[in-house]
Symmetry: C2
Subunit: 322 residues, 2 copies
């Protein structure tokens, strides 16, 4: 995106133009100098609105629950931004975008913005980019941000880690509770949801989860186990109350402050890393082919080549950094 386009798009964005918001999210996803320019312009407009992470195994009804949550908050006149991350490998199932089409009433509601981010297994950078897409939604004036992630690997946890409150969703029929525990999912949960709670096995699952929670070391916050039926809206008020309670706990304990501090630190380092690498590429790209030939000819190794190039970039101290 050219600089003049960014300025025009930002002006439209601040005037509430949804298409401008979508364009800025795309610019942020694409990375590079344009992404940085957009994020820097938006930075002063960040409101600190609550960020809710919703995660869990495939098939438990996360999308339906997120839709129901969005409707619930719309009923309270709150504007809701949703980022749905689907890093599902082609072999694990997973909807990849298709799911979101069904939310017709939400799609036409100007108080809701849903952004899907689909990838095909390449998770590198996804955690950071999804956080930045949420920044755009936050600067757009949403009162609640929801980050929905499928599956529960480390990266999904990183994504959930950008949230103030992480809701882990399970369902009775998925039989995933044991796997969830294995995966360390229980430790990541601030609130546990047993969705499809009208189906057989729900009571058993709630009991199992509560028993597991009681075996954990005592802590200031014990995740409540909430039953929901996302398709009918049952339990949504309970879930919202639990999330609000967790947010009050975070504020009161100073945890929210600490999390934001850590987040800013990570952000500074991420921007620094990006800029440093762009700068290195700008200054060193011309030297790479020559060094590649030298390595292939046996006259250098990738290590001596990198050292020489680094010394040329930061010339005040060409010494090794070990």
């Amino acid at each position: 995106m050219l600089e003049t386009h960014i300025d025009q798009t930002l002006t439209a964005f601040f005037a509430g133009d949804r298409r401008a918001a979508a364009r800025l999210m795309t610019a942020v996803e694409n990375g590079g100098p344009a992404a940085e320019a957009v994020l820097e312009a938006l930075y002063p407009k960040l409101t600190g609105a609550p960020r809710l992470g919703v995660t869990g195994p495939p098939g438990v009804g996360k999308s339906t629950l997120v839709d129901a949550l969005a409707r619930h908050h719309r009923g309270l006149d709150r504007r809701v931004g949703v980022v749905a991350v689907d890093p599902t490998s082609p072999f694990t199932g997973g909807a990849v975008l298709g799911d979101r089409v069904r939310m017709n009433d939400l799609a036409t509601d100007p108080g809701v913005f849903i952004r899907s981010m689909a990838t095909r297994g390449s998770l590198g950078g996804l955690a950071r980019t999804s956080k930045e897409v949420v920044d755009v939604l936050e600067a757009f004036g949403h009162d609640l941000l929801i980050i929905e992630t499928v599956g529960v690997g480390q990266t999904e946890m990183d994504i959930a880690g950008t949230a103030d409150t992480t809701v882990v969703v399970l369902s009775p029929e998925s039989g995933d509770s044991i796997q969830a525990m294995k995966a360390g999912l229980m430790e990541a949960a601030d609130v546990l949801v047993v969705n499809k709670a009208d189906r057989p096995g729900a009571d058993q699952m709630v009991r199992t989860l509560e028993a597991d929670l009681h075996m954990r070391p005592a802590a200031d916050w014990t995740p409540p186990v909430i039953r929901t039926v996302a398709s009918s809206g049952d339990g949504l008020a309970d879930l919202t109350a639990a999330v609000d309670a967790h947010h009050r706990y975070l504020t009161g304990s100073g945890d929210l402050e600490r999390r934001r501090h850590a987040r800013v630190r990570v952000e500074i380092l991420a921007v620094l890393r990006d800029r440093l690498w762009r700068r290195a590429q700008r200054d060193l790209t011309d030297h790479v082919p020559g060094w590649t030939e030298k390595v292939l000819a046996g006259e250098a190794t990738p290590y001596t080549a990198a050292r020489a190039m680094l010394a040329a970039l930061i010339d005040d101290d060409p010494e090794d950094d070990e």
Copy 2:
């Protein structure tokens, strides 16, 4: 690993000590200056031995096939190094290490070295690290390197991309052929294997795959479709012949040369990126807390902070790089 330990371990490694090899692989996996020191020391010992990537969806019998391949090559008196990467999410199944235990006869064969690399969804850096673990195996004197990856996302493809020849394994019962095509897996395959070829549906699957291959634009190399029954060893000689034919094709066409050129280039950039970042961290870590406070106080943004820190590091040209 301390420098003296590295030297001792390298000496033992070059004398053929398997435990030293395992320690070097761990050092390489852990990254940082020790990893670089190890890789630099090994670099001159790289032999250019063929690298075979074996990938495909879970459940098709990749591990059994890789074991069978290793046995087959042992029968030809070749030393075989295997890196088994299992980036399986806790919810998609996948063995994560357990599988490899069953290879008792191989585990006690000094001509075979099997290294498992398991992760839990965090794929960042895995492609590079697994390539470097293969470097260790190559420098250890193995005649054939096999990189086994579960699933087929972008990162798995990156890993397979470090191979000279990529074997994509499917099985009749997995019903994965259509998904494999969707996932772009067909394009990545140099050789296609229908494993468990004694099961119903194998003929149909081979026909489907061959029909699909014929619909592709004409190319110098058309992937053959090989039937195997890994558990009995059927088809292993055919598979080996196909891999050898592909290697001859690569050499004759100049493709092998081009791939190695590209690989060295990527390697130089990766080392450069690592060193640059380590150097930046060394020089800038002290400044991060102060900038974090300024950002939290609203006196800076992560972007102005990063710019100022970058200017301090590369002081000859503090200008923006956009």
